[in-house]
């Protein structure tokens, strides 16, 4: 089955790329954009038919590798 993970910076952690994107959007025709936070996602194909087991495994992956919990949060979809 396929599991999607979204990793984003925690609230309050400086996101200079998001800031640069927001300023660029403001300079285009999107003056009403007040904040952009950039993140990343992973599509993980896992050979496991039990959804609960698969998601538990993906949770371990997030904690051990995919996200750095000092600055990032993860969401498993």
């Amino acid at each position: 089955m396929k599991v999607r993970v979204i990793v984003t910076l925690k609230n309050g952690v400086l996101d200079p790329q998001g800031k640069a994107i927001q300023q660029t959007l403001n300079g285009m025709t999107f003056g009403n954009v007040s904040e952009v936070r950039q993140g990343k996602y992973f599509d993980i194909e896992i050979n496991e038919s039990d959804e609960i087991k698969a998601k538990l495994q993906v949770e371990e992956m997030c904690k051990k590798l995919l996200a750095n919990l000092v600055i990032e949060d993860y969401k498993i979809l």
Partner: protein
Amino acid sequence: MKSSVIIFPGSNCDRDMDVALKKFGFKNQMVWHNDAKIPKSDLIVLPGGFSYGDYLRCGSIAGKSRIIKSVIDFANSGGLVLGICNGFQILTETGLLPGILQQNKYLNFICKNVFVKIKNKENKYFKKIKKEVLELHIAHNEGNYFCSNDELKSIEDNGQIAVTYCDHGGNEDEKNNPNGALKNIAGIFNKDKNILGMMPHPERMIDPFLSGEDGSLFFKNLIESL
């Protein structure tokens, strides 16, 4: 004194480090990341570079490589582990050092000489260095040190800040903070001070004709302290 420099795919300061260590008397050996064991060493160095192309997060993939278990065991038994630049990023990703190195505040790759202030000399890395401020070289895109407020308090309380960015007179202000690092932090220790991670490259400052000599002071002290 024996040292080992670990080479990861994408390391590019490994040979400079080898030259520097040998110049000051270390018997250095190069160790491949996919080896299982590190030969007997008094010092392990994780060099600068772009291990695994900086994929995912800088240092994150190297932090799970085969050799790392031996590095962690060595560090936990009190052995000296030095991580420079990408090596520092790897040490934070393994959890041997707290915090993380984020992208530089102004999104630029910085390559220049900087001054750093030695904040703690009660350790083998800086013990006999007489100077308070060193001129070293930095070259990085992710050197913006960050940690939680609780971690910062614990780092400060335990004297774990090793070096901070400053001017030639030792003023650690925002003007002399090249990358936005919390409290101008350029390098930190673990609690026991046997592990040091820092962004500046002492191995690039060992020749008076090419660069400067403050890196020499670092390596001379290191071999004398061991």
